[in-house]
C-alpha cells in the first residue's frame, strides 16, 4: 500500500491513493483532487452519480488516518470549476480535519482566494521549502527538486502474450516528481518514460516501482 523513498536526504512515503507523505515535515502532498467536478456536471444537466461526490472526502480521510500529518499541501486543481454546493461539503471537511492547509493554486482553481482564506487555507502560486519546489505545473528550477501535478500521469505497461495495462503513476525524473491525480473521476495522460525516469504505478491495493525495458 505504501513505498518509502529518499530524495535529497529527506524521506517520502508514496501512498497508492496518489498522496505523498513528507516524513520530516509531517506534511501530505496531494494533487489534482478536482472537487466539485461531479456537481459541476450535474448542475449543467449531466446526471452523473451523486455517490461519487463523497468518495474524494473519504479518500482524504483515509490517508490522513494512515499518516496522521500536521499539514496538507494541495498541489493545485483542488476544485474543478467555479463555486457550487460541494464547497459546503469541503468546508465541513476542513473544519473536521483541523489541519493546517496550503493550496498551491492550479489552472482550474478559479474560486476566489478569499473563500479559502475564510477557511484558514493559505493560497500561494508556488512554495519553495528548503531545496524543494512545490508547484502545480511541472517546472524544473536550478538546485531545487520539484513536486508537481497537473499532468495526471499514467503509463502503459507491456507484457508477454501481447498484454497491455494503463495505470496511473508517480512519475519521477532526475529533478522532479509528478504526482498522480488524487481525485475520482479524473482522466490520465500517458507518459513516455525515458531510460533514467522512474515510474511508481498505483493500483487499488499496491504501489509498485517499474523496471524499464531491457534494464
Amino acid at each position: 500500500m505504501t513505498l518509502q523513498i529518499e530524495i535529497n536526504n529527506q524521506v517520502f512515503v508514496l501512498h497508492n491513493t496518489g498522496a505523498l507523505y513528507w516524513v520530516e515535515k509531517r506534511m501530505l502532498l496531494i494533487s489534482d483532487v478536482h472537487l466539485g467536478k461531479i456537481s459541476h456536471f450535474r448542475k449543467h444537466g449531466l446526471a452523473l452519480p451523486i455517490g461519487a461526490i463523497f468518495k474524494n472526502f473519504s479518500k482524504l480521510d483515509k490517508v490522513i488516518d494512515h499518516f496522521s500529518p500536521e499539514k496538507i499541501c494541495f498541489l493545485g486543481d483542488l476544485f474543478h470549476s467555479s463555486l457550487n454546493n460541494e464547497w459546503h461539503l469541503f468546508s465541513d471537511w476542513v473544519n473536521r480535519t483541523e489541519l493546517s492547509i496550503i493550496l498551491v493554486a492550479g489552472n482550474h482553481d478559479v474560486i476566489n482566494p478569499e473563500k479559502y482564506n475564510d477557511l484558514n487555507i493559505k493560497v500561494v502560486s508556488e512554495w519553495v521549502i528548503e531545496n524543494f519546489l512545490l508547484i502545480h505545473d511541472p517546472k524544473v528550477r536550478d538546485g531545487l527538486f520539484t513536486f508537481s501535478g497537473h499532468i495526471h500521469p499514467s503509463v502503459r505497461l507491456i507484457g508477454k502474450g501481447r498484454q497491455f495495462l494503463k495505470l496511473s503513476c508517480f512519475f519521477r525524473s532526475s529533478n522532479q516528481m509528478i504526482l498522480p491525480a488524487f481525485g475520482e473521476f479524473t482522466g490520465t495522460y500517458v507518459m513516455q518514460p525515458k531510460d533514467d525516469d522512474v515510474v511508481y504505478v498505483v493500483t487499488k491495493e499496491d504501489i509498485i516501482m517499474m523496471k524499464a525495458d531491457g534494464k
Binding site: 467536478k37 461531479i38 456537481s39 459541476h40 456536471f41 450535474r42 448542475k43 449543467h44 444537466g45 449531466l46 446526471a47 452523473l48 452519480p49 451523486i50 455517490g51 461519487a52 468518495k55 474543478h80 470549476s81 457550487n84 454546493n85 460541494e86 459546503h88 461539503l89 482550474h108 503509463v155 502503459r156 505497461l157 507491456i158 507484457g159 508477454k160 502474450g161 501481447r162 498484454q163 497491455f164 495495462l165 495505470l167 475520482e184 473521476f185 479524473t186 482522466g187 513516455q192 518514460p193 525515458k194 531510460d195 525516469d197 515510474v199 504505478v201 493500483t203 487499488k204 491495493e205 499496491d206 509498485i208 517499474m210 523496471k211 524499464a212 525495458d213 531491457g214 534494464k215
Partner: protein, 819 residues
C-alpha cells in the same frame, strides 16, 4: 369521385409516360385507398415511390374534387428516408407526377442540409409533401407548437425501413410515430423495405404490436427477382496469394482490366482506409484513370460526395471506389459492373451491392468478388450459393432502449412539455417499449428531473422541471439549446474537420488519428497528400504536400463486420466440401493452401471441431475453429479464456476473425485438461460471460454511445467553438463512475444487455456451443503456424482476460519506455 375514376387518373398518367403499372403498385394503391396501413417489400429502382405517392395524391383529389382550381394548404404527407442523398430523387419523382396531374401539390425537403431561411419558410407554410430524415422529424418535435403542423397529416411513409429497423434510428422513428399517431389520428402509416428475413416483424415494429393500426394492415411483396451473376477473381497462380491481409492489392491488375472493359464500375471496399488505399494504388499504377475515377466514403465532404453521385448519373466516371456510403438508394443507371473487395460478411449487403449494377429492368446484375486473402475465397463460393438460394438475414429490433427514451422525453419537454400519463400510454404501444414496467417508467422520469432516484439537499441537478399542473418541461434556454444540438442516435468517434490553410473543407478524420500526427507530417486523405500545418479548435489545417513526400494513410476505428449466421453456415458447408471431390472453382484454387494446412494439421469435416496448438516466441498459441463469425468468436474466446482461467491462474490475450479465435498466453495450456473438464458446455453461459472481463470491456464501448444519446456526455457543439470549459470528459471515465457508484442505473445495465443481445449474440452462442459439443474434437499439436491460423495470430487488435492478480501481472511486465 369513386375508386374507378381515381384509378383512371393514375392509369392515364402511366399511359402518358408509356409505362404499365406493376401489380404491386396497383395492389398498394388499392390497399391505401381502403384506408389500410402496411409494408411494401420492393427493391430500389422498382417504382416504389409511385406505389405510395400516387395514392396519396388520389386521396387528396378525392377529398378536394375542385383540386385543379383550389389548393388546400397544409402538410399532407411525410416521407422519411434514412439517407439525405435520397431525398432529391424522391422529390423529383414526386414533383413530376404532381405537376403532370395538375394537383398543385408542393414537395419540400427538410434535412440537416436545409438552410435556416428555408426552415422558417416551412414553418409558416409547410409543403404538401415533406421529405425528411428520422433526426429532422425529432427536431420538429422539439419545436414549439409542433402539433399544429402535423394535425392534418394523412400519411407517413418510412422509406428503406430495413435500414432503420435494428438500429436506434429505428427506435427513434417508432417513438416519433407513437406521438404523431396521437396528434393526427387519421394518419396512415406505410413502410417500404428491401427483402430481409423478418418482414412480418418489420411490419409489427413499424405499426406497434397489437395496435389498431397493425390489425388494419397489409404486407405487399413486389416479387421482383433480379438475376445476379457472381464472378470470383481468381489469379492464375495461387502461390502468390497472401495468407493474411485485408487490402487485396495483389489483384490490382485484374481489377483495372474489369474497370477498363465496363462502362461504369463501382468498387466496394469494407472500410474507409481500404477505400483510400485502393484509390491511391490504382492511380499510381494506372495514371490514365486520373479524372475518370473518384472516391466516395462517409468522411469526405458532402459537396464532394454529391458531385461524385451526380457524375455517376451523368456517366462521367469510369470507376468509383466507395464504401457502404453508396450501398443505399440513388439510382445509378450507368453502373454496369460492381466489384466487391473482401468478404461482404452478409448476404443482404452483398445482394444490395450487386443490385447497384444493371438497374434497367430485365438487365442482369454482375458482381465480381475479390478475396483479399486465401481463406476468403471460401466466402466467395458460399456467396454464390447464397445468391442462388436467396438466403437473407434478419434485422433484429432493439428492445427497451432507455437512452433513446430519455432523449425523446427531453425533446418533448424542450418543445411544449408533456404529461407523463399521456406519453406513457403512447410509448407502451411501441414495439421497443412494450415490456416496459411502471418501475422502469418511474426511473426514467426521475432520471430526467432529478438526475438520480433520490433527492439530496445540496444537489443542484437541473434539466427537466415539473410544473404545478404536472407538465414536464425544460425551462432553461441553455439546456434546451444543448439538447437540440446533441439530438440524434448515431454516435461517431470524435472527429475533426480537415481544411486547407487558405480555406476549403475537405472532410473529417477521427481525433485519435490526428493526435498521432505532428505538424509537418504528411497523410493521405480524400485521395490527396496533405501536410499537417496545425490543429486548432477541432479543426485540422493542412496544405498540399509535395507529391514525393512520404505519407501515411488516414485510418478509422471500427467498421469491422462479422459474418452473419446465414453466411457462417454457408461458409462451413463450403469448407467441408474441401475434403470431397465436389469442389467449386474457388475451392480448387485453394488446393495449395489446403495441402499446406494438411501438412501440419487437418481441414475439418462436417462432424469435426478443430483445435490447433503451437509455440512461437510470442508464447503459447491455442486456436479454435468454430467458423461462426467474428462476434460469436469474440464471445467464445472470452468464455473459453475465462473457463480455463478457473483451472489455473493465467493471463490470455485474445484474437479472433470470422473463422476462429486464439488464446495466447505466456504459459503452457494443457488442452487435455480443457477437454476433460468439458469446457464447451452451453450451461452457465450467461453467468460465465458476465464474469469474463471481456463483457465489461464490450459494455464499456456500448456505454459510450448510450451516454451520448442519453445526454450524459457533452460532446460540444458541432463545428462551433463555444466555451464548454470544464464540462467535457471521456466516456471511459463516466463508465467507471457509474460502475462504481450506480451499478443499478438502467442506462448502465442497458450497456450490458446490448452487449449480450447485440454484440455477443447469446442466442447464436448457445447454438454454436451445442453444435461443437456434438462434434468430434480434433486437437492438432503443430510445429508451426498453419495457413488457417495465420490471419488470426497476426491480428493486432486484442482483448485480454486474466485470473492472475494485478500485482502478479505487473511484476511480469515492463513500462513502455521511449527508446
Amino acid at each position: 369521385m369513386n375508386r374507378q375514376e381515381l384509378f383512371d387518373i393514375a392509369h392515364g398518367w402511366f399511359d402518358s409516360k408509356g409505362w404499365i403499372p406493376f401489380p404491386f403498385q396497383i395492389q398498394t394503391w388499392n390497399a391505401f385507398l381502403q384506408g389500410k396501413h402496411g409494408l411494401l417489400n420492393a427493391p430500389t429502382g422498382s417504382g416504389k415511390t409511385y406505389a405510395l405517392w400516387i395514392p396519396i395524391m388520389l386521396d387528396y383529389i378525392k377529398k378536394n374534387p375542385n383540386y385543379k382550381k383550389k389548393h388546400t394548404p397544409g402538410l399532407k404527407a411525410i416521407w422519411i428516408t434514412p439517407l439525405r442523398a435520397l431525398s432529391i430523387e424522391i422529390k423529383q419523382a414526386a414533383e413530376r407526377a404532381a405537376n403532370d396531374l395538375e394537383t398543385g401539390l408542393t414537395v419540400g425537403i427538410r434535412t440537416g442540409d436545409t438552410s435556416t431561411a428555408e426552415r422558417s419558410r416551412q414553418k409558416t407554410k409547410m409543403p404538401d409533401l415533406l421529405i425528411t430524415t428520422p433526426e429532422s422529424l425529432q427536431l420538429m418535435l422539439a419545436s414549439k407548437g409542433y402539433d399544429k403542423i402535423f394535425k392534418d397529416c394523412t400519411t407517413m411513409v418510412i422509406d428503406e425501413w430495413h435500414e432503420l429497423l435494428g438500429t436506434k434510428r429505428g427506435v427513434q422513428t417508432e417513438l416519433g410515430l407513437s406521438r404523431l399517431k396521437a396528434i393526427a389520428p387519421k394518419m396512415r402509416i406505410w413502410g417500404i423495405s428491401a427483402t430481409i428475413g423478418n418482414l412480418n416483424q418489420a411490419l409489427e415494429v413499424l405499426l406497434g404490436p397489437e395496435s389498431d393500426t397493425f390489425e388494419n394492415s397489409i404486407l405487399i411483396k413486389a416479387h421482383i427477382n433480379k438475376k445476379i451473376k457472381v464472378i470470383s477473381i481468381i489469379p492464375e497462380k495461387m502461390d502468390t496469394y497472401p495468407w493474411r491481409g485485408h487490402m487485396g492489392l495483389h489483384l490490382i491488375d485484374e481489377v483495372a482490366k474489369i474497370i477498363k472493359a465496363s462502362r461504369t464500375t463501382l468498387v466496394f471496399t469494407n472500410v474507409r482506409a481500404q477505400c483510400e488505399i485502393w484509390f491511391q494504388a490504382l492511380l499510381e499504377k494506372y495514371p490514365e484513370f486520373a479524372g475518370d475515377m473518384a472516391m466516395h466514403h462517409g468522411s469526405i465532404s458532402r459537396e464532394t460526395r454529391q458531385w461524385v453521385e451526380q457524375a455517376i448519373r451523368d456517366e462521367q466516371l469510369k470507376a468509383v471506389i466507395c464504401t457502404s456510403s453508396l450501398d443505399l438508394g440513388v439510382d445509378f443507371a450507368p453502373v454496369e459492373t460492381v466489384i466487391q473487395i473482401g468478404g461482404p460478411k452478409g448476404v443482404a449487403r452483398f445482394l444490395q451491392r450487386a443490385g447497384r449494377s444493371g438497374h434497367r429492368p430485365g438487365q442482369e446484375s454482375v458482381i465480381y468478388f475479390l478475396a483479399t486473402h486465401a481463406m476468403e475465397l471460401i466466402e466467395a463460393s458460399a456467396l454464390k450459393k447464397a445468391v442462388k438460394e436467396t438466403v437473407v438475414e434478419d434485422r433484429v429490433p432493439y428492445l427497451n432502449s432507455w437512452d433513446v427514451l430519455v432523449q425523446y422525453l427531453v425533446t418533448l419537454a424542450v418543445s411544449d412539455g408533456f404529461y407523463p400519463d399521456t406519453i406513457y400510454k403512447e410509448i407502451k404501444n411501441t414495439f421497443c417499449y412494450q415490456a416496459m414496467t411502471e418501475d422502469n417508467w418511474a426511473w426514467v422520469l426521475n432520471f430526467i428531473t432529478k438526475g438520480s432516484q433520490s433527492l439530496e439537499a445540496y444537489d443542484e441537478y437541473k434539466k427537466v422541471e415539473i410544473e404545478e399542473d404536472g407538465r414536464f418541461v425544460v425551462n432553461s434556454k441553455t439546456v434546451a439549446l444543448r439538447h437540440r444540438m446533441q439530438m440524434g442516435t448515431i454516435v461517431g468517434d470524435a472527429v475533426m474537420n480537415v481544411k486547407f490553410l487558405g480555406g476549403g473543407y475537405i472532410g473529417s478524420i477521427e481525433e485519435w488519428f490526428v493526435s498521432k500526427l505532428h505538424p509537418g507530417d504528411v497523410f493521405i486523405f480524400a485521395g490527396r497528400k496533405l501536410e499537417l500545418y496545425r490543429t486548432k479548435n477541432m479543426e485540422v489545417l493542412v496544405r498540399k504536400a509535395s507529391p514525393s513526400a512520404k505519407a501515411q494513410h488516414a485510418s478509422w476505428m471500427g467498421g469491422r463486420m462479422t459474418l452473419s449466421a446465414q453466411m457462417s453456415e454457408l461458409v462451413r458447408q463450403e469448407l467441408y466440401a474441401a475434403n470431397t471431390d465436389v469442389m467449386s472453382p474457388e475451392l480448387r484454387a485453394l488446393l495449395p493452401v489446403f495441402k499446406r494446412q494438411r501438412k501440419e494439421s487437418i481441414v475439418p469435416d462436417a462432424d469435426e471441431f478443430l483445435i490447433e496448438t503451437f509455440k512461437t516466441r510470442e508464447g503459447y498459441h491455442t486456436i479454435f475453429y468454430p467458423f461462426e463469425g467474428r462476434f460469436v468468436h469474440e464471445a467464445l474466446a472470452s468464455l473459453m479464456a475465462y473457463r480455463i482461467s478457473l483451472l489455473m491462474p493465467i493471463t490470455f490475450s485474445l484474437a479472433y476473425n470470422d473463422y476462429g479465435f486464439e488464446l495466447l498466453s505466456d504459459q503452457y495450456v494443457d488442452i487435455q485438461q480443457v477437454l476433460d473438464n468439458n469446457l464447451f458446455i452451453p450451461q452457465y453461459l450467461h453467468h460465465d460471460l458476465q464474469n469474463s472481463l471481456n463483457a465489461t470491456e464490450m459494455a464499456r464501448r456500448k456505454f459510450r454511445d448510450i451516454s451520448v444519446i442519453a445526454g450524459l456526455v457533452f460532446t460540444g457543439y458541432p463545428g462551433k467553438v463555444v466555451k464548454t470549459k470544464h464540462l467535457q470528459s471521456g466516456s471511459q471515465l463516466i463508465f467507471e463512475v457509474f460502475r462504481d457508484y450506480e451499478p443499478d442505473n438502467l442506462l448502465l445495465q442497458q450497456a450490458y444487455r446490448e452487449t449480450f443481445e447485440h454484440q455477443l449474440e447469446e442466442g447464436r452462442l448457445i447454438l454454436a456451443l451445442e453444435r461443437i459439443q456434438s462434434h468430434k474434437i480434433r486437437w492438432m499439436p503443430c510445429e508451426k503456424p498453419t495457413p488457417f491460423s495465420f490471419p488470426i495470430i497476426t491480428d493486432r487488435l486484442r482483448e485480454k482476460l486474466s485470473s492472475e492478480t494485478l500485482a502478479e501481472r505487473i511484476k511480469k511486465m515492463t513500462a513502455n519506455y521511449m527508446k
